[in-house]
């Protein structure tokens, strides 16, 4: 039943993610800069970048089709949809039926594919190279995300993300089972791969031959570029928020929350995402980028861990309370 408060919660999630995405990216860059001994550009720097890009002229390479035109809006739209449907601030989203595991992963995949196809559509060498690399990684990442979250869904009894989060809130010991721990490791690896962070892809590189995600968006300019960068930031924020809520869901508001619960939920989420982003950024300072042919090894390993997580979750006795 769509209640006003549920719609408010969903709207709050969308607005929050949209507003906070560049701040998360900026925060990560700032942490990395501080660790490396630089002053950094400030946490709000990506917002200033977006403002600058919006003022510039948006170019379209000659010969591109609707695929190129639609990619950026599709990417942004998918990210916003996930932000609305997933249990980030409260578990009672009006789009709850869409918050099923397969649907969420499918929508994520839709965004990735749209961007990759647009990269191919530009007809340049780097666009094609970036697209093929990105799809190789995605081909290994999608099954792993499915299996890892499926492993989490076995003790909860349902593949709906909100149900999983609620079950973990009521039975905290689910997180300490071997299935959940293996799923955690697998999820961390694939989130790093999916969002293009080290050790899979260096987000701040300027060397085109080493790029994966950046190579696909070399041809973008102006408002379209702003949209793509903002959408990538939103995907990162949403994935980090999901990771936090699947394993440490405390603070999240229930299905029919009051205003105070909503505020608490928003605050808890902001805190958790900030801490996770900081940890990822700090870890990036110490990790080197993997050579491209080693990436499938890493992803095969995370796939194996996800498979083991599913077998452990289904065969080892689930603990009740």
């Amino acid at each position: 039943m769509t209640s006003a408060i549920a719609v408010t919660a969903a709207g709050l999630q969308v607005l929050g993610v949209a507003a906070a995405a560049p701040l998360v990216v900026g925060g990560m860059r700032q942490v990395r800069a501080r660790c490396e001994g630089r002053a950094g550009g400030g946490v709000a720097h990506p917002w200033r970048d977006l403002r600058k890009q919006l003022r510039k002229q948006s170019l379209r390479p000659a010969g591109t089709t609707a695929v190129f035109r639609l990619a950026a809006p599709l990417l942004a739209g998918s990210a916003l949809l996930i932000a609305a449907a997933a249990p980030l601030i409260s578990t009672g989203s009006p789009l709850d039926s869409t918050a099923d595991l397969f649907a969420i992963v499918g929508i994520l995949f839709l965004g990735t594919v749209a961007l990759a196809l647009a990269g191919l559509d530009t007809g340049t060498a780097f666009g094609g190279m970036g697209a093929s690399r990105e799809l190789t990684v995605t081909a290994l990442v999608e099954p792993t995300i499915l299996l890892a979250i499926f492993a989490l869904s076995i003790p909860a009894g349902s593949a709906n993300l909100a149900t999983i989060v609620t079950a973990t809130t009521h039975h905290p010991s689910h997180v300490v089972t071997p299935g959940a721990l293996l799923a955690l490791v697998a999820l961390v690896i694939v989130i790093l791969a999916e969002t293009g962070r080290l050790p899979v892809d260096n987000p701040s590189t300027h060397l085109e031959l080493t790029m994966m995600h950046e190579a696909m968006i070399l041809e973008y300019a102006g408002a379209r570029l702003a949209l793509v960068e903002w959408a990538s930031g939103m995907r990162l924020t949403v994935l980090l928020a999901l990771l936090a809520n699947l394993f440490l869901p405390w603070g999240i508001a229930g299905p029919h929350p009051g205003v105070a619960a909503l505020v608490l939920g928003a605050g808890a989420l902001a805190g958790k995402v900030a801490i996770l982003a900081g940890i990822v950024a700090a870890a990036e300072v110490f990790v080197a980028k993997l050579r491209l042919f080693r990436v499938p090894e890493l992803l095969a390993g995370s796939f194996l861990l996800a498979v083991l997580a599913v077998t452990a979750a289904s065969f080892l006795t689930p603990v009740s309370g």
């Binding site: 010991s173 300490v176 089972t177 071997p178 299935g179 721990l181 293996l182 499938p296 090894e297 095969a300 390993g301 796939f303 194996l304 861990l305 498979v307 083991l308 077998t311 452990a312 065969f315 080892l316 006795t317 603990v319 009740s320 309370g321």
Partner: protein, 221 residues
Amino acid sequence: MSTATYTELLDLAAGGLLLTAVLIVWRRELAAMARLLTVQGLALATIPLLEGARTHDPALVGVGGAVLLLRGVVLPALLTRASRADGEPRRESTPLLNTSASLLAAAALTMIAFALSRPLLALDRGSPATQAAPTGLAVVLIAVFVMVTRRRALSQAMGFLMLDNGIAAVAFLITAGVPVIVELGASLDILFAVIILGVLTGRLRRTFGETDLDLLRELHE
């Protein structure tokens, strides 16, 4: 200790056993494999220690301590010492199967182990320890896989130790260990077997110059 805590800890130990087995398939350096074997021995020893603590059985706790000493300390130390000998390279030579394929094979073997152990699970549904026994069987199958696909003599020896760890895990999980005299004999046997393998590796290095098993090609039909 409550049943819930016992089951959790037991499952964590079994999961740890399987995880170390998978990581041994992943890693190529001999030193890293020896370290993982130490952790595996610790995870293995936890199982009889937990059982002994729950049933207040001092004999079982004693066995757990002995297992910890043997498989967690002595045997990995022997293998580490052999791997640090002069002339022994730090990394595995090109294995027969690349890492991604090995990891996928390990996943398949885990599935097979769980399928094979259905009659075991059917016989003893009430015990959480028996429900965790398929992980031991999976470690056994993965160990055979490691032994078959590695080319260094020491890697085969480490695979053999993992095989024995897996079988000991199954023994502890389904029956709280075999009679003490058999356990004692089995422990002595694995100790001697590893010592023999270590000595043989040294002789291989002196006779052939290196311990790549592909050099053992003289005997054939």
